[in-house]
């Protein structure tokens, strides 16, 4: 039986191939660091004769530990003194060397037509261009909205800054992908960045306009919530695109990291704002009067509700009791 043993690199691609012509059913070969092994690995963490692999006629491979110190890893689990453990997709690790056993009985994915890879690439480029256009549109809109005296100059400055920042972001993820996957995937990372960013900016604007149209007070944490959602989605897609990380692990990192970092910032900021006696959190965002869909309430109702501010204000004042006076006054009176 002809068996192909591949030694893989960290990206899962074959670094070295060894063709073995084996007799017997099941056919057997050994893996180890010593010259006596059928497949010799250059790995100080492997034993001289580390493992024996048997391959039956149907192409199923099983691995047995030959008494190694470090054991064998199969399917992500490290096994001590494994005996005839079946391999999935022929994959196992000896020491720190990943190997794949392939036989003529393997099933392969159908051949890809050449145009499909190209189309996927073109799609990513198109998506990144389209979403970048949306983001550029928003930057231009915000400059236009503020109606600066020198519109062309302000527009150029804002766009250059925005594109530089976006470029740095995409370059950073491209670099990570190059290290992990040995390709850059610019278009993919650009598409992720611009799509997520465009969605956040648009939703933030949409909510502001909606609160205004419905005569409702704004939601103070709106921007924070949108940013956290964007960070979770964006990080998940960036991680999946940049590495071989599993969907579950990527989701875990994408949720945990923004929550930890964003939550930390939010917490520190909230404390600073709560301590700042001059801080007013309300932003009065106003849109054209024709967008309004609900009339204003009565002054009576407003001031009846505003009377409750007193209790809240008194509560904050009481909460400050017992604090030390930090600053001592000085100078002439």
């Amino acid at each position: 039986m002809r068996v192909l043993v591949e030694i893989l690199d960290s990206h899962g691609r074959a670094r070295w191939r060894e063709h073995l012509a084996l007799d017997g059913d099941p056919a057997r070969f050994t893996v180890g660091r010593g010259a006596a092994a059928d497949v010799v690995v250059d790995d100080p963490h492997a034993a001289a004769l580390h493992a024996e692999v048997e391959v039956d006629a149907a192409g199923r491979a099983r691995v047995t530990d030959l008494g190694s110190l470090n054991g064998i890893t199969v399917g992500g689990r490290r096994l001590r003194s494994a005996h005839a453990v079946e391999l999935r997709d022929g994959l196992f690790t000896v020491g720190r060397t990943r190997l794949r056993v392939r036989t003529p009985a393997e099933t392969l994915a159908p051949e890809l037509p050449e145009s499909e890879g190209l189309r996927a690439g073109v799609n990513a480029v198109l998506l990144s261009l389209a979403s970048a256009a949306v983001c550029v549109g928003f930057v231009a809109y915000s400059v236009w909205l503020s109606a600066p005296q020198n519109m062309a100059g302000a527009m150029a400055t804002a766009l250059i800054y925005a594109l530089l920042l976006a470029g740095a972001w995409v370059a950073a993820w491209g670099f990570v992908t190059r290290v992990m996957q040995s390709e850059w995937r610019w278009a993919l990372h650009a598409a992720i960045l611009f799509t997520v960013l465009g969605a956040v900016v648009f939703l933030d604007w949409l909510f502001d306009a909606l609160w205004f149209a419905l005569s409702l007070p704004g939601w103070p944490s709106q921007q924070t919530a949108l940013l956290v959602a964007a960070a979770v989605l964006g990080l998940h897609w960036h991680l999946r695109g940049a590495s071989n990380i599993s969907r579950r692990r990527a989701a875990l990192v994408a949720v945990a990291l923004p929550l930890a970092v964003g939550g930390g910032f939010y917490f520190v900021n909230a404390i600073a704002q709560a301590r700042n006696v001059n801080y007013i959190g309300v932003e009065l965002k106003v849109f054209p009067p024709s967008w309004r869909m609900r009339p204003g309430g009565s002054l009576d109702a407003y001031f009846a509700a505003a009377a409750r501010l007193k209790d809240e204000t008194d509560r904050k004042r009481r909460a400050m009791r017992g604090e030390d006076d930090e600053d001592s006054p000085g100078d002439e009176d």
């Binding site: 309300v282 009065l284 106003v286 006076d325 006054p329 000085g330």
Partner: protein, 439 residues
């Protein structure tokens, strides 16, 4: 042409010689007058000198001073008059601050606060071991243009007299003040101001730091009642009693301010601008100024009206209270569409909090909603915070933005400092209720 020019030059030269001769004779006359005036200043200072002390505040057990002002004898037995704000830290934090006096000769001793009048920024104190002849008070406010002197310890550089002119009572001020055109600097607070006869006409209270010689005195007439009250007391009041007096006086000041702005029957006076009727000059003592942007190329025209009661009491460093300010920014455009115009309006409406210090005020709490006013709808935001050391006094900050026109609108700011909550809210309601769209 040339002879004419030569003639004119000659005439000019002759005139210059005549003018310089006149200058010389004028100067010699003035020198004599100036010497007489300076001599008078010397006499005033010499007479008053034994009765004037520096008042110094110390933090904890420190021997280096935290702040200082001036005081002067108004009755035998070490009874001194000074500004309330010189004693304020000790009144509010008696366990942390102590007050001492120091005579120009270097004699020192302790000071005890007997009575305070926060509204007029006066305090009567007793200086232990000090007994100087009292200075004579003259309750009459001197006329504009009469000579006046002010004495104190500016910037800790020793006993100093400055010479100036009384400009009579400040016109349209909420609390009475004498306008003294002379220098009053930090450290002179609480010192006496004299007329040419050496009688005390007022107490140094404040000056504009970046203006030239615009200073203010509390008229002496307000001191008499306070001195009598202090002398009538059998025992010096406890610190808590004085703080209670301060609180009551602050409430009285704030109530008087809000009352003065709220005539019982009349509607609030309004000013018409850009199609809107907005609260105008609400009382005589309110100081209003208006300005606009004359640049024709600006896409949005802005007119601004700012009014201030200038009624604030300076209590302690970083704490002004009992005051009111409001401004309207009225915007219109012919160049911008409704979306861009409303964005400009939003910028004008933002509230930026102010300059409160954490030891004096609590953080803000806000409410924001859209309300129907007379003929138009507006967004109304109100934020309140409490004065930490004074029960029942609040800062109220409100913003109003009109929502009825695509190319016209206003943002109005109202800030009330240290007022009763209900009275402040009632005033805000009248203020907002007076706004009207007239088209």
């Amino acid at each position: 042409m040339i002879p004419l020019l030569r003639f004119l030059t000659l005439c000019a030269a002759l005139f210059a010689v005549a003018a310089s001769a006149q200058e010389r004779s004028g100067a010699s006359r003035r020198d004599v007058a100036a010497e007489a005036v300076s001599e008078n200043a010397r006499i005033v200072l010499e007479r008053a000198r034994p009765s004037i002390v520096q008042i110094r505040g110390f933090f904890g057990a420190n021997t280096a001073q935290a702040f200082h002002g001036t005081g002067f004898a108004v009755a035998r037995g070490g009874i001194l008059l000074t500004n309330y704000h010189v004693t304020a830290e000790q009144v509010m934090y008696p366990e942390k601050y102590r007050l001492e006096y120091r005579t120009p000769e270097g004699k020192t001793g302790g000071i005890r606060v007997l009575a305070v009048d926060v509204r007029h920024d006066l305090a009567v104190v007793r200086a232990q071991g000090f007994d100087a002849p009292p200075l004579m008070l003259n309750a009459r406010v001197p006329d504009k243009g009469t000579r006046a002197y002010s004495i104190g310890f500016p910037l800790d550089v020793g006993l100093t007299i400055t010479e100036g002119v009384s400009n009579g009572r400040v016109e349209d001020s909420f609390e009475p003040r004498i306008h003294y055109s002379g220098a009053i600097n930090g450290g002179m607070s609480g010192g006496p101001a004299f007329n040419a006869a050496g009688q005390v006409i007022g107490v140094n209270v404040s000056g504009y730091r970046f203006e030239q010689l615009v200073s203010f005195l509390v008229p002496a007439s307000h001191a008499s009642a306070l001195i009598e009250q202090a002398l009538a007391q059998k025992a010096p009041p406890a610190a808590a009693q004085i703080r209670q007096q301060v609180l009551e006086q602050l409430h009285a000041h704030a109530d008087a301010l809000v009352k003065a702005l709220t005539p019982s029957a009349d509607p609030m006076p309004v000013q018409r601008i850009g199609g809107y009727a907005l609260p105008g000059k609400l009382a005589e003592f309110i100081d209003c100024g208006a300005s606009g942007d004359p640049a024709p190329e600006a896409p949005v025209r802005t007119e601004r009206i700012s009014c201030s009661a200038k009624a604030g009491l300076y209590l302690q460093q970083g704490l002004y209270t009992g005051d009111l300010r409001y401004s309207h920014f009225v915007l219109s455009t012919e160049k911008l569409g409704p979306l861009r115009f409303s964005n400009r309006l939003s910028d004008m409406a933002q509230a930026r909090g102010g300059f409160g210090a954490r030891r004096h005020v609590s953080p803000f709490t806000c409410r924001d909603s859209t309300v129907a006013l007379q003929g138009f709808d507006a967004r109304l935001m109100v934020c309140t915070r409490a004065l930490r050391n004074f029960d029942g006094l609040y800062d109220i900050t409100a913003r109003v933005v009109s929502l009825n026109q695509g190319a016209r609108g206003f943002a109005s700011h109202l800030d009330l400092y240290g007022v009763d909550f209900a009275a402040g809210m009632a005033f805000l309601r009248r203020y907002v209720g007076a706004m009207r769209w007239e088209g």
